[in-house]
Structure formats: structure tokens, C-alpha cells
């Protein structure tokens, strides 16, 4: 009895430590210490679980802990910050895999469903259904972000019908199991349907929608963990899963709002499909291309520069050169701030992490609402690998597919310098009229190389 009490007390302590840890993330200065508390909470929970009286054999446990640490350490310490989106996606897969397998093991242990009540079957079914779709969904997201499969949306006729059909089948099998739990065949079929649904859910979703998808998968992984807690009667699992589920849900809402899209639209819209004849295409207009030398003159003695980073910065890994250029501008007496759109990059907060890695102080990183009034006072705006988040069509062109999406108002600045690989339109496949405005100049080429040239020029100025 006292042993159970000790385990329960340690779970309670872990839950409190988890909540304190998350609360510390409301400010960057307290965040690190808080997360150490959360890690301590995890250690307490794991150590006390080893005292559980049902455990009779420690060999497989220790093997799993050792192997997991062996794989987890490099995934924590060596993965570069630029690979963070795919790193997070694959970790959602591992989380969902653990939850699902615990559910399957529980089902098997209880006489293949014979010893499972209706309520417990509901929890187990929910866990396995959500877990399995998160496993394959996250794996697909990982493969797309790692570019092992094409990042572009993959669609075929009747795609949504297939997805909805799988979803309905999963629900039907779930209902069938709750009514009669002792049906291993139905259980395994539901597992398979869940796995297939995860693939068909993420396959049609394009790269730029990844922030929403990763957040949603985060939420699902959390809900699967919480359902595990219901199924095996463990409160700390329910609490941690609920926290994770809430976090993922909030992030997906924030991301969807920042794109002015609904979940339904992201999941079933296949936005990236060719959008013929949308918006006003800048026929006959020409952009003004400039050289790094011209750009250097523009930037060297600017008093206020606002940088708008996008996925292109992450691709060319230009954040360190950007920081170096900012230091030079600051040395000349200018001010440099960074305007971060909520959906810039491939996951929530992607740009912030990359810039922090390049040693940019966090008080220079401004959120959209905060920085938008400042554009009118900026001498120069430097757009690096961003496109749709600075397209003014979102504000005034109802025909544009991104109409209504909140944007960074770079078009209000005195001069705009756009660094871009080529004139290919952005993810939405639409022209960006900002590029054709009289105050805008374009610098084509790899962002990292261009910045390096500008730095050399500014140093000589």
C-alpha cells in the first residue's frame, strides 16, 4: 500500500513540476530554469514507476531506456536548428508510437479484448485511433520537410473522398469495438485504418501549411497520451497529455488565424494546387534588379532597417550573415529590428529560433502587431526569402487566394530590398505586387552569398 502511495505522490509532484515548467515559458529569462524543473518531474515519475509492483522483469525496460537514450541524445544535441521542423515532426511520431503501442499491449494483455469493459474500450480505441493516425501523419510530415518525398501537395481525384471514407470507417470500427470489445480483428483493422488515414491526411498538404499541420499533430499526440492515461488509469498521463493537447490546439488556432484559413480549409483545401488566374498578375511590369553594391549603399547608413525573414532564409542558412550585416549597420549608428510573421518558416516560432541561434538578441525580434506601425518610419526593409507574408494583395484584392491574411506591411516603408532566388512566385503561386512597386528593388541569388557580398561592400563604405 505504502509503495502505491509513494508512486501516486511522485506522479502528483511530477504533474505540478510540468505545469510550473510550462508556465516558465511565458518569459525567455525564466524558461530554462523552468524546463529543468519539468525534466526533474519526468525523472521522479520514471524512477518511482520502476517500483511498480506489477513489474517482474527489468531486462526489457532497461534495454528500452538504454536504446532510447542512445538515439535520443544525438537527436537532442546534434540536430541543427535549421532541421528543427522535421525534428519536431518525427518526435510527434515517436510520442504517438509509444502511446499506441501501450494501448495495443493493454488490449492484448486483457485477453485480446475479452477483459475490457465498454468505457475502457472507448479510451483504448480513442488512443489507438488518434495514435495511429498521428504516427503516419507525422512520418509523412517528416518525410516532406526532410524532402525525402516532394514537399508539394500530392493530390488525385477523389482525394477528399478517400480521406473522409477512411475517417468514417475508423469511427465505425471504433463504435463497433465499444459495443463489443472482444473483437481482435476489428481492433487490428481500426489500427490499419488509422495508419492509412494519417497518410491520406498529410499527403495533400503543401510545405507552407506545415505550421498548422505540425501543431495539429502535436495536439493529436497529446490527446493520444491522455487517452492512454484513461485506459490504464494513470492521472499524470492524463494531465501531461491534456497540456500537450491544449498547447498543440492553441498553436494550430494561432497559425490558422495568421493565414486567415480554417482547419477544414488547411486539411481539405489542398491550397498549393495550381491556382489559375488569381489576383492581378503583373503583366508587362518589370522589376528593378540591383547589384549587391547598390544594396550596400542603400543599407550602410540607413537609420532604421526592418528585416523580414522567411523560409528562404532558413533554406540558405543566411541567419549568421544577416546578423553580421546588422552589426555593421548598428556600428554606423542605425537600428535593426526583425519582423516575424507567425507563419514564417515551416513551424511556429521557426524564425525566432534561427535568429536566436545567430546571436540576435530576443528583444529585437518583433511580433506582427508590434512591428507593423513601425514600417512607415523605416528607411529600408530587407525581405529575405519571404513572399506571401509581405504581399499587399492580402489587404485589398478580394480575388487573391491569400485575401484577408494579416501581413507585414513592408509596402509602407521608404525603400524595400527583396532578396530572392529567382522570380518564381511564392508558395501560393501568385504574383507579389510588392516586387513591382517603385520603392522596391530586387537582389537575385542565394541569400547567403548576396549577404556576404553586401557585408564586404559595407565594410569598405
Amino acid at each position: 500500500m505504502s509503495r502505491d502511495l509513494l508512486i501516486q505522490a511522485s506522479y502528483l509532484a511530477s504533474s505540478v513540476l510540468f505545469i510550473l515548467g510550462l508556465r516558465s515559458l511565458t518569459h525567455p529569462d525564466s524558461a530554462r530554469r523552468g524546463m529543468h524543473l519539468a525534466a526533474l518531474g519526468m525523472l521522479v515519475a520514471v524512477v518511482s514507476t520502476l517500483l511498480h509492483r506489477e513489474i517482474v522483469d527489468y531486462r526489457w525496460i532497461l534495454a528500452g531506456l538504454a536504446l532510447g537514450s542512445l538515439v535520443g541524445y544525438p537527436m537532442g544535441m546534434w540536430v541543427p536548428m535549421t532541421a528543427m521542423p522535421q525534428r519536431i515532426a518525427i518526435s510527434h511520431m515517436f510520442g504517438a508510437l509509444a502511446a499506441t503501442l501501450v494501448g495495443v499491449a493493454e488490449f492484448v494483455s486483457l485477453g485480446n479484448g475479452a477483459g475490457v469493459g465498454h468505457a475502457q474500450m472507448a479510451a483504448l480505441g480513442f488512443e489507438v485511433l488518434f495514435g495511429s493516425l498521428t504516427i503516419t501523419g507525422s512520418l509523412m510530415a517528416f518525410l516532406k520537410l526532410q524532402e525525402l518525398v516532394p514537399g508539394a501537395p500530392f493530390t488525385f481525384r477523389g482525394q477528399n473522398l478517400v480521406s473522409l471514407g477512411l475517417f468514417a470507417a475508423g469511427l465505425a470500427l471504433f463504435g463497433c469495438l465499444v459495443a463489443h470489445p472482444s473483437q481482435p480483428a476489428v481492433f487490428h483493422l481500426m489500427l490499419a485504418v488509422g495508419l492509412a488515414f494519417g497518410v491520406s491526411l498529410v499527403l495533400p498538404i503543401g510545405g507552407a501549411d506545415m505550421p498548422v499541420v505540425i501543431s495539429l499533430l502535436n495536439s493529436y499526440a497529446g490527446l493520444a497520451s491522455a487517452a492512454t492515461g484513461f485506459a490504464i488509469g494513470n492521472n499524470v498521463l492524463i494531465i501531461a497529455g491534456a497540456l500537450d493537447g491544449a498547447s498543440g490546439f492553441i498553436l494550430s488556432v494561432v497559425m490558422s488565424k495568421a493565414m486567415n484559413r480554417s482547419f477544414r480549409n488547411v486539411l481539405f483545401g489542398a491550397f498549393g494546387a495550381p491556382q489559375a488566374a488569381t489576383g492581378r498578375v503583373a503583366e508587362g511590369l518589370a522589376v528593378r534588379a540591383i547589384t549587391p553594391e547598390d544594396a550596400a549603399i542603400q543599407l550602410a547608413y540607413a537609420r532604421k532597417v526592418i528585416v523580414v525573414p522567411g523560409y528562404g532564409m532558413a533554406v540558405s542558412q543566411a541567419q549568421h550573415q544577416l546578423r553580421e550585416l546588422a552589426a555593421l549597420i548598428e556600428k554606423h549608428g542605425g537600428e535593426v529590428v526583425y519582423a516575424i510573421h507567425p507563419v514564417a518558416g515551416r513551424m511556429p516560432g521557426h524564425m525566432n529560433v534561427l535568429l536566436a541561434e545567430a546571436d540576435v538578441p530576443y528583444d529585437r525580434l518583433k511580433e506582427m502587431e508590434e512591428v507593423n506601425p513601425e514600417f512607415a518610419n523605416a528607411d529600408a526593409v530587407l525581405v529575405i526569402g519571404a513572399n506571401d507574408v509581405v504581399n499587399p494583395a492580402a489587404k485589398h484584392d478580394p480575388a487573391s487566394p491569400i485575401y484577408g491574411m494579416p501581413i507585414l506591411e513592408a509596402e509602407l516603408a521608404k525603400s524595400v530590398l527583396v532578396m530572392k532566388r529567382s522570380m518564381n512566385p511564392g508558395f501560393a503561386g501568385i504574383e507579389n505586387e510588392l516586387f513591382y512597386m517603385p520603392q522596391t528593388s530586387m537582389l537575385f541569388g542565394d541569400a547567403k552569398e548576396s549577404l556576404q557580398k553586401i557585408i564586404t561592400e559595407v565594410k569598405q563604405a
Binding site: I19, L22, L25, T26, P28, A31, M35, A39, M42, A45, V46, E54, I55, D57, W60, G64, L65, G68, Y73, M75, G76, M77, M84, R87, S91, H92, G95, L97, A98, A99, L101, A105, V108, S109, G117, A119, I214, A221, S225, G229, F230, I232, G233, I238, A240, L243, D244, A246, S247, I250, V254, P348, A356, E357, P361, Y362, D363, L365, E367, E369
Partner: protein
Amino acid sequence: MSTTYLVQSLYVFVLAGFVGFLVITRVPALLHTPLMSATNAISAISLVGSIVAAGSHQSRTATLLGFVAVTSATINVVGGFLITDRMLKMFHRGPKGQAEKPGRKG
């Protein structure tokens, strides 16, 4: 599992979700990536369920599934907390130490 137990669990779930909502809406967009890796590491608490499954010798299948579950959950615990710490270590204030606070908007 009785209905009483299910109701009790629902209480815990709903209240924890509520706490999560209140806490997480206050996390600034600045820290959304660390938030995601942190919640991911925390929800790998399913490790405690995996440990019992791997060690309780119910059947060969359950032990094997438990072993794979322990491995995947441990990957997330170890990797998740390490990478969160690595990220948070990088966030620092500017040299002038301006008084302005980072955005608190969710």
C-alpha cells in the same frame, strides 16, 4: 474500469486542459518552437505506461510492444528535454538591456 472512474478521469482531463489553456496562451510567439518541443518531451510521460507494459510479463507480445514503446518514449524524453534546453540557451537579451518586454500576445 467503472463509470465513476471514467468521470473522475474526465474531471482531471478537463481541468488540466483548462490550466494548459491559461498557461499556454501567455507564452509569447517568440518561444513557440521551444514550447512545442517542451510539450512533446512532457507528453512522453507515456513512458511510465510503457515501462509497466514492458516489465509486467503479461505475454511475449505485450513485453515486446512495451519494449518498443519504452524506446520511443525515451527518445522523446531525452532528446526533447535536451533540445529544448539547447534552444532556450540561445535566447538572450540585447547588450543595452532595454526596458521593453517581449510581446506577451499569444
